[in-house]
């Protein structure tokens, strides 16, 4: 009971801090907007209808991918809160409290995932504004899927941050991980047309199944012939990845001083 209360209060803290950071929220519109408008329209125009998926524009194809990218970048970035907390000493207040490291990790992780989910919702709103068709049911179904994607990614960010002493080193590791995961997830293309060695790597990338799940939900029937896996398999793979990352994250937090 008191563990749950501790977990809740840590969740609330992350969400409050995020919602108070106006600059971060406003600026979070910017990157996806560039990708969807400039990259999406630009590449779409130069492909001139050569997209092998009938009935979809290039912008529509990458829209779920850009949601995935936003979830990836923001989730990984959330680890920075651990480094801030260490530098500003607040981490000590949490670590000395009579609450288990599991609850500390889960509270922070679910809080950060909630923040990342809000970023994902912002991208969907952006998509609506750009004329991409998302009905209310699709929106509702995409919420738990987005959350599922963030759990594992946030856990990676928190785990790395728990080992890092400084912001600089955290930033360096980030770019090392983010871009490969992003490019190899098929967010900007469909992986069936890739050479087989690259396909193999993509299929080892958990984000591939996250993006595929979002496409299955958002693009629906048009995507089905091209899907990497059926929706429930995507969800199972992402879920298994989450469990593994959460276990590793909990372990990392339990050895943090």
């Amino acid at each position: 009971m008191s563990e749950l209360r501790g977990l809740y209060t840590l969740w609330l803290r992350e969400v409050k801090r995020y919602l108070r950071d106006r600059v971060r929220i406003v600026s979070s519109f910017f990157q996806p907007l560039l990708w969807l408008v400039i990259f999406g329209v630009g590449i779409g125009a130069s492909l001139r209808g050569a997209i092998p998926i009938p009935g979809l524009t290039y912008q529509q194809l990458i829209f779920p991918g850009i949601i995935g990218q936003t979830l990836l970048f923001t989730s990984m970035f959330m680890g920075i809160s651990v480094i801030w907390d260490k530098e500003f000493g607040f981490m000590k207040e949490i670590l000395v409290a009579p609450i288990s490291r599991v609850s500390i990790f889960l509270g922070k992780m679910i809080g950060d995932s909630t923040d990342a989910l809000i970023q994902g919702i912002i991208v969907i709103v952006l998509g609506l504004a750009l004329g991409i068709n998302i009905d209310p049911m699709t929106f509702l179904v995409s919420l738990p899927i987005m959350l599922l994607i963030t759990f594992g990614l946030v856990s990676i960010g928190l785990t790395i941050a728990s080992f890092m002493g400084s912001l600089e080193s955290f930033g360096a590791i980030q770019s090392f991980i983010n871009l490969p995961l992003f490019f190899l997830s098929g967010a900007l293309f469909q992986i069936q047309s890739l050479p087989s060695w690259m396909q193999d790597i993509s299929k080892a990338n958990p984000l591939t199944y996250g993006v595929d799940a979002l496409r299955n939900v958002i693009l629906g029937a048009a995507w089905q012939p091209f899907q990497v896996q059926p929706l429930f398999v995507d969800i199972a793979i992402v879920g298994a990845f989450d469990v593994a990352m959460i276990i590793i994250g909990t372990w990392a937090f339990s050895r943090m001083k």
Partner: protein, 329 residues
């Protein structure tokens, strides 16, 4: 239970460096106990072990009857702590920080509001309770941290250098709050400090710590009495001359120079004064002034270690946070 804290050969080494060396102390229920020592003496390390943040290399301690190694969760519920460095969330308000603490320590929801309101009143922050912490001054933050440490009604409150980095007026204020909080909540307080006056004015008993060991322990008066005497302060044209006069010619041990004046502790100050003046004159040393005072804790430290506690500030934080934190102080 007479002793709320007992340590048993409590030891911590950091790759070869023994920061805390077989510490055996006991703290009585209800007292204010000070660990006084220079930077690097091992005070924070001791507190960290008692608070279960650091595992002892060997030995252990009991707090409120619970073993710090075997029952850390019980120990954590029994203690409150104000860390040496700031540890509040400055993106939240004071009240939010207190609620978060109450939830982390399992304070019943029905009691939270009352406790928080009354403690905010005690540290006189009720008017600012809903402002973000980042708008607070250093002294106000410290007061909030004191208040926070008490929200869950701990048996023991640890204060690690509670007034380091604060201006003299704010320090007086914080001392006042510590006394009042202690009275209102009937708790035991363990504080660490490298300020003599802080230990002297605030605590019932003082343990003087140096290189991880307790070198003297007792009430302030008792510690001063062990020196058995008075301190003579001599200002002369030739400090080295006075030094050699006292040590070699007059056989008085423990003379030392502080800011160009010579200080020496002697058994019977009043009768020693004229003898020093006479000896100086015979040796062509001109004494500008000479005076007598009671020994203070600085003299006690000096007596046991041969060194003075330099009142320099604590370890400076580094990295990006340091820039921010400097703004805070």
């Amino acid at each position: 239970m007479a002793n709320v804290i007992e340590t048993f050969k409590l030891t911590k080494s950091f790759n070869g460096l023994t920061a805390v060396d077989k510490l055996d102390i006991s703290v009585e229920t209800g007292e204010i106990f000070a660990l006084l020592g220079p930077n690097g003496a091992g005070k924070t390390t001791t507190i960290s072990m008692l608070c279960t943040i650091l595992k002892p290399t060997s030995g252990t301690a009991k707090i409120n009857g619970f073993d710090i190694v075997k029952e850390p969760m019980q120990v954590r519920k029994s203690i409150g702590i104000v860390f040496q460095d700031p540890s509040i969330d400055d993106r939240l308000t004071a009240r939010e920080n207190l609620y978060m603490h109450a939830n982390l320590y399992g304070v019943p929801a029905s009691e939270q509001k009352n406790r928080i309101d009354s403690i905010l009143k005690l540290v006189e922050l009720e008017d600012r309770a809903d402002d973000l912490m980042r708008t607070y001054s250093g002294g106000m933050r410290r007061r909030l941290e004191l208040a926070r440490g008490l929200i869950h009604y701990p048996k023991v409150l640890f204060l690690d250098e509670p007034t380091v980095g604060l201006d003299p007026q704010t320090r007086d204020h914080v001392w006042k709050y510590i006394r009042e909080l202690k009275k209102a909540h009937d708790i035991t307080v363990v504080l660490t400090t490298h300020y003599m006056d802080e230990a002297d004015k605030l605590s019932d008993r003082i343990a003087i710590m140096d290189y991880g060991k307790i070198i003297a322990l007792g009430t302030s008066d008792k510690l001063k009495e062990t020196l058995e005497g008075d301190v003579i302060i001599i200002k002369a044209n030739n400090a080295e001359g006075v030094m050699s006069l006292l040590t070699e010619k007059m056989g008085l041990p423990g003379a030392h120079v502080v800011n160009g004046t010579v200080e020496v502790t002697v058994k019977n100050g009043k009768s020693m004064l004229p003898r020093i003046v006479e000896a100086a004159t015979q040796n062509d040393i001109f004494i500008e002034s000479i005076s007598l005072r009671e020994p203070n804790l600085e003299d006690v430290f000096l007596h046991y270690t041969g060194r003075t506690i330099r009142a320099d500030s604590g370890r400076e934080p580094h990295g990006i946070a340091a820039i921010q934190r400097r703004k805070i102080r």
